[in-house]
C-alpha cells in the first residue's frame, strides 16, 4: 500500500504516482499545444476530436451550471482529461495509474470541494454561505459538516477503489495466464472502466458544484 519511491531529489522522495503524474502532465501539455495549432473555421483532421471533447464537456457544464457557469469549462475539461489519461496509462507495460494511489484521488476530490465552496461564496455571499451550515435549524450544524466531508471521501474512494481493484484483479490474472487471455479483460478494466470512471468523476464534480448553489 505504501507508494513505491523511485528516486529522491534534494531529499524529497519522488513516488511512482508523482512521477507518472509528471508524465501525464507532459503528454497533455504537448498534445494541447500540438493539436491547437492552425485552427480553421472548417475543421480538418485532429481538430474534429479536439472540438468533440471541448463541445461535449462545454454543453455538459452549461446544462448543469447555466451560461454563467461557463468559466468552469476549462477546469472541468482539465479534470476529465487528467483522470482519463491517468486511468488509461496503467495499460502501458511498466506504467502504473496515478489514480490507484489514494493521495492523488483525494487531492482531486479536495480541489473539487474547494472550487464548489469558493464558487458558492462568490455567488451567494459570505453571510448566506455561513448561514447555509445552520439551516434548516442550528442543531443540524454537525450533520452538515459531516455531509460535506463524506462527499470528499466517497468521491475519492470511488475512483481509487475501482482503479486499484481492477489493477489487483489484473495482476492476479497475469500470474496465472500471462499471454493473450488478459487482453479482453485489460480492455474492460483499463479502457471501458477507465472511461466510465473518468466520466463519472467529472459528472460528480459538476453535480457537487451545482448542489452548493441551490
Amino acid at each position: 500500500m505504501q507508494p513505491e519511491v523511485l528516486f529522491t531529489v534534494f531529499s524529497i522522495p519522488i513516488t511512482q504516482s508523482i512521477f507518472f503524474t509528471w508524465i501525464i502532465l507532459l503528454i497533455l501539455a504537448v498534445a494541447s499545444f500540438v493539436f491547437t495549432r492552425n485552427l480553421k473555421t472548417i475543421p480538418t483532421g485532429t481538430q474534429h476530436i479536439v472540438e468533440l471533447i471541448v463541445d461535449g464537456i462545454d454543453s455538459l457544464v452549461v446544462k448543469h451550471l447555466g451560461e454563467n457557469g461557463r468559466v468552469y469549462t476549462p477546469f472541468i475539461i482539465t479534470v476529465a482529461l487528467f483522470v482519463f489519461t491517468a486511468n488509461i496509462i496503467g495499460l502501458v507495460p511498466g506504467c502504473e495509474s496515478p489514480t490507484q494511489d489514494l493521495s492523488v484521488t483525494f487531492t482531486l476530490a479536495l480541489i473539487v470541494l474547494i472550487v464548489a465552496h469558493v464558487n458558492e461564496i462568490k455567488v451567494k455571499g459570505l453571510g448566506a454561505y455561513i448561514k447555509g451550515y445552520f439551516s434548516p435549524y442550528w442543531i443540524m450544524f454537525p450533520l452538515n459538516v459531516i455531509g460535506e466531508l463524506s462527499k470528499v471521501l466517497s468521491h475519492s474512494f470511488r475512483l481509487y477503489g475501482n482503479i486499484f481493484g481492477g489493477a489487483v484483479i489484473l495482476n492476479i490474472l497475469y500470474m496465472f495466464v500471462p499471454y493473450v487471455v488478459p487482453i479482453p479483460i485489460m480492455l474492460w478494466f483499463g479502457v471501458f472502466m477507465g472511461a466510465i470512471q473518468a466520466f463519472v468523476f467529472t459528472l460528480l464534480a459538476l453535480t457537487y458544484i451545482q448542489i452548493r448553489l441551490e
Binding site: M1, R158, G161
Partner: protein, 92 residues
C-alpha cells in the same frame, strides 16, 4: 507465532465477509438499470437524459460497495501482508 497465524486467518475471513456488500450493490444497480430501460422503452426521446441519470444513480449507490472493497484491500495490504512477511521471517 500461532497468534500471528490466527490474526492473518481472521483478516482473510473478515475481508471476504466485507465483500458480501457487493451483493446488495449488484441488486440495487440492476434495479436502477431495469427501471431506466423501462423508461427508455416508454419514451425513447428521453434516452440521453435517462442514461446520464442512470449512470449517476448507479455510481452513487455503488459507493457502499467501493467502501467495502477499500476496507478489505486495506485489511489485506496494510495488516495481513506485513504480518505474513514477519511470520515467514520467524519460520526462517
Amino acid at each position: 507465532m500461532l497468534e500471528i497465524a490466527i490474526i492473518i486467518a481472521a483478516i482473510a475471513i473478515g475481508s471476504g465477509i466485507a465483500l458480501l456488500a457487493g451483493a446488495g450493490v449488484a441488486i440495487a444497480e440492476g434495479y436502477v438499470a431495469g427501471k431506466a430501460v423501462e423508461g427508455m422503452a416508454r419514451n425513447p426521446e428521453a434516452s440521453d437524459t435517462l442514461r446520464t441519470t442512470m449512470i449517476l444513480g448507479q455510481v452513487i449507490s455503488e459507493s457502499t460497495g467501493v467502501y467495502s472493497l477499500a476496507v478489505s484491500l486495506l485489511l489485506i495490504f496494510t495488516i495481513a501482508v506485513p504480518l505474513f512477511n514477519k511470520l515467514m521471517e520467524l519460520l526462517g
